[in-house]
């Protein structure tokens, strides 16, 4: 078992990746790019899950199982999100999130 890479580094990497995802979701004007940001956030969580499993509870398979669930959800979410974006494109000729303000009060 190598000890060169401590758990904290992995967690920092995951936090950085999550923050990059959040930034992407909040700042990108393109809907597809925002979806990509969401994928980054999901993967950051996956890194956390896998890291905690590997460093703290290697006997139990729960961490891996959760990571697999998150992948499935991410795939489904990406499929639905892309379908939505295509539908929006077809009706409104745009994928710029700022223009999609039909629900403005």
């Amino acid at each position: 078992m190598t000890t060169t890479v401590p758990l904290e580094w992995v967690l920092v990497l995951a936090a950085a990746l999550f923050c990059a995802g959040v930034y992407g979701v909040l700042s990108r004007r393109n809907g597809i790019a925002a979806l990509m940001g969401i994928e980054l956030m999901l993967n950051a969580v996956n890194i956390n899950l896998v890291a905690f499993w590997r460093y703290l509870e290697p006997e139990a398979a729960t961490g891996q199982a959760f990571a697999l669930f998150v992948y499935a959800v991410a795939v489904a979410e990406a499929a639905v999100g892309l379908a939505l974006i295509i539908a929006i494109w077809r009706t409104r000729d745009t994928v710029v999130l700022e223009d999609l303000d039909l629900l403005k009060g």
């Binding site: 909040l26 925002a34 999130l97 700022e98 999609l100 303000d101």
Partner: protein, 751 residues
């Protein structure tokens, strides 16, 4: 055996009623069935009535008591009071039941011919006449047989309605429907008095059933209770109020005006109204409630009744002299004869009044049907003449219209004359009726009934006697005048030359009524009358007399108690025969020729009394006076009420409107202000808060992130800086408030 028949007396008014309903509902379009139903209904009533009558005569009614009362049914409950309904048969009822259906039946049969069934001139409302006649018969029979004054009043009102419908039967003529309306309104006046009398009676006795009212204790109570502290007793006032009903119904003096105008109706209807039903009901009301009238010995009520009766008798016979319409003469004679009955009752001659009511019904029905027959003949003559004129004109080839003869009045006696030869059956029966009306001695029923009134009047009130004797003379005079003008001499118009005798369905009832007109008198020949008295017992007196002798102690000596007094019959018969002779001298000796003015009118003109004749002809202008006072007065009153309505009531309404407007102001500015204020606040809040909802997903996410960060921050603070938590939270609160204030101020500035 007998009691069950009396118990069935309630069926008597039922059958004419059913006939009337059936005609109106089912057989209206079928004339034959209509008159079959009407005549069938009244025939059943007739048979039942005869059964009841003979049962009542042959058997002391109710087993020794004076009146039979059937088992009672509850028919009306108001509060704790329960009105009962039953049949009440006493001798007066029985005699009315003998007369009414018989006369009605004759009139119904006569109507078939009178309305021209089977000829092209058949009246378009033929069925309707029979329905109305049946209903009128129902009204009369119902008011006779039932046992309380409330049903009496109800049926009395049915009669009023029918009189209205029948008198206005030919409502295309304005005068006809006006006469109907007049009848209805004038009788309303009397009905109001009647109703007040009933209310007073009910409040005193607590019941309207005859049995309770005629209870000696109740009568004693009414006789000795003063009315509202006056010197009059309750009985006097009740009697006078009930008499008010009679005055209108029987056309007594102040309210007589409706009866002459009834001449607008069809003759059978008039015969029914003037003889068997409507006006008889008024007199029958006094007969029925006579114990109340007699409760106070020599009270003012009897004086009033006698005075009005006697005055009406003489007053209307004077007017009748100057009438030329054959039906109007008879109408005034009806008023006059009703005056006789009322006067007779007013002097306490109960039996005589009732007897005259019965005989009068027969001979007046006879006279009206006879006059109807004459008019019917004249109408036929006019039609024939018109056809003849038209044919002669078409032969000549001119296109001018046929002689219209529309203006010709077939009721006018001046247009008649010489009809005795052309209509012999009508003539002889009419003459019989006329003689009975005049009181021709010994052979007519009218003599015997009038004689009884006269004998009693002579004994009790000489004034009434002389007035009635004079009226008898006048009656004889105008009756003779009528007979002479109608039937004697030469025809005064071409129409009269062409008048044919009426069909048998009209003349047979006339003959039957004529037989009764003669024969009925034999039922009431005084026992002590010379020569023929006592051959036939004075049945009527004994029978009817039971009622009064057993219910109240009159204290008067009955007729049977003393011998025959020759003066009264002698005196009044001189008047009657004198009137007949004078009438014959003036009108019959040298019959009037065409175009001649009335003999009496000419004579009065000569002595500068033409104005008086005009007065008589126009009935002393009573119609005009009533028109000017009551009708105009009503209209003025209506105007006054209209002004009040317009000024005060409308003003009040408008005032309320103003209040409403003021309250609307309040509503608009205060209540609406509150509601709108709420709206404004909500809207402003919404306007400010809506800015949060941008619709952009990334904004929301930003808020989520910020909130997340804040929560994490708070967590860290709580975790590491617990001892400074209070100060930090205060600072955060101050920060949030400051931010809110700033944002509000900014939003103000921009909006």
């Amino acid at each position: 055996m007998l009691i069950p028949i009396l118990n069935l007396a309630w069926l008597i008014p039922l059958f004419p009623f059913l006939a009337s309903v059936a005609i109106l509902l089912f057989t209206y379009r079928n004339r034959k069935w209509s008159h079959r139903l009407a005549i069938g209904g009244i025939s059943i009533s007739f048979v039942l009535s005869q059964a009841v009558f003979w049962a009542a005569v042959l058997h002391p009614v109710g087993g020794g008591e004076q009146a039979f009362e059937s088992t009672l049914i509850h028919w009306l409950s108001t509060g704790t009071e329960r009105f009962t309904l039953g049949v009440y048969i006493d001798p007066a009822t029985a005699v009315m039941l003998f007369m009414v259906p018989l006369v009605c039946l004759m009139i119904f049969i006569y109507s078939v011919g009178y309305m021209n069934l089977g000829t092209p001139e058949v009246d378009p409302r033929y069925s309707r006449l029979f329905a109305y006649l049946s209903l009128l018969a129902t009204g009369m029979l119902g008011s006779v047989v039932f046992n309380n004054l409330l049903t009496f009043f109800i049926f009395w009102e049915i009669m009023d309605t029918c009189a209205y419908l029948l008198i206005g039967f030919w409502y295309e003529r304005k005068s006809a429907y006006q006469a109907g309306l007049k009848t209805f309104l004038v009788t309303r006046v009397g009905d109001m008095f009647f109703l007040l009398g009933l209310v007073l009676l009910y409040s005193e006795v607590g019941s309207l059933a005859y049995r309770d009212i005629f209870n000696p204790e109740a009568l004693e109570h009414m006789a000795h209770t003063p009315f509202l502290g006056t010197q009059w007793s309750m009985a006097t006032v009740i009697a006078l109020l009930l008499f008010g009903g009679t005055v209108a119904k029987s056309a007594q003096f102040p309210l007589h005006v409706w009866l002459p105008d009834t001449a607008e109706g069809p003759s059978p209807a008039l015969a029914l109204i003037h003889a068997a039903t409507m006006v008889s009901a008024g007199v029958f009301l006094i007969i029925r409630t006579f114990p109340i009238f007699a409760a106070v010995e020599s009270g003012v009520q009897m004086t009033v009744v006698a005075a009005i009766g006697a005055f009406t008798a003489i007053f209307s016979s004077i007017i009748a002299i100057a009438q030329n319409d054959i039906k109007r003469v008879l109408a005034f004679s009806t008023i006059s004869q009703l005056g006789y009955m009322v006067a007779a009752l007013g002097i306490g001659a109960y039996v005589a009044g009732a007897f005259h009511l019965i005989t009068h019904a027969f001979f007046k029905a006879l006279l009206f049907l006879g006059s109807g027959s004459v008019i019917h003949g004249m109408e036929h003559g006019r039609r024939e003449l018109r056809i003849a004129n038209c044919e002669s004109q078409t032969h000549v080839g001119t296109h001018s219209p046929c002689s219209p003869l529309e203006e010709f009045n077939p009721n006018d006696m001046l247009n008649m004359g010489g009809l005795a030869k052309r209509m012999p059956r009508t003539f002889w029966t009419f003459l019989t009726g006329g003689l009975a009306l005049s009181g021709f001695p010994l052979v007519t029923a009218g003599f015997w009934s009038k004689d009884q009134i006269m004998a009693q009047a002579y004994e009790r009130s000489p004034v009434v006697f002389w007035v009635l004797a004079a009226a008898a003379g006048l009656t004889a005079f105008y009756t003779m005048r009528q007979v002479c003008m109608t039937f004697f001499g030469q025809p005064r118009t071409q129409v009269a030359e062409h008048a044919p005798e009426s069909v048998p369905s009209m003349t047979v009832p006339l003959i039957i009524l004529a037989i009764f007109t003669v024969g009925l008198g034999w039922a009431g020949i005084p026992t002590h009358f010379p020569v023929i008295g006592g051959i036939i017992p004075n049945w009527f007196h004994h029978f009817i007399g039971q009622t009064i002798e057993t219910t109240i102690e009159t204290g008067h000596a009955t007729e049977a108690a003393h011998g025959f007094v020759w003066e009264p019959p002698a005196l009044w018969v001189i008047f009657a025969l004198g009137g007949l002779a004078l009438g014959w001298l003036v009108y019959g000796w040298k019959p009037m020729r065409a175009g001649e003015t009335d003999r009496v009118e000419a004579a009065m003109r000569k002595v500068w009394l033409g104005w008086l004749y005009a007065c008589l002809r126009d009935c002393f202008y009573f119609d005009e006076i009533y028109q000017a006072t009551f009708v105009r007065g009503s209209i003025l009153l209506a105007d006054l009420f209209y002004a009040f309505d317009h000024g005060a009531v409308d003003g009040l309404v408008n005032l309320i409107g103003r209040f409403a407007r003021a309250s609307a102001f309040l509503d608009l500015h205060v209540v609406d202000g509150a509601v709108n204020g709420v709206g404004v606040v909500v809207r402003a809040g919404g306007r400010d808060i809506r800015r949060l909802q941008t619709g952009r997903i990334q904004n929301y996410l930003l808020w989520v992130s910020v909130a997340m960060l804040a929560l994490v921050l708070a967590f860290l603070i709580i975790l590491f800086l617990q001892e400074y938590l209070y100060q930090i939270s205060l600072a955060v609160l101050a920060l949030v408030v400051t931010l809110l204030v700033i944002s509000v101020l900014r939003s103000r500035k921009f909006s």
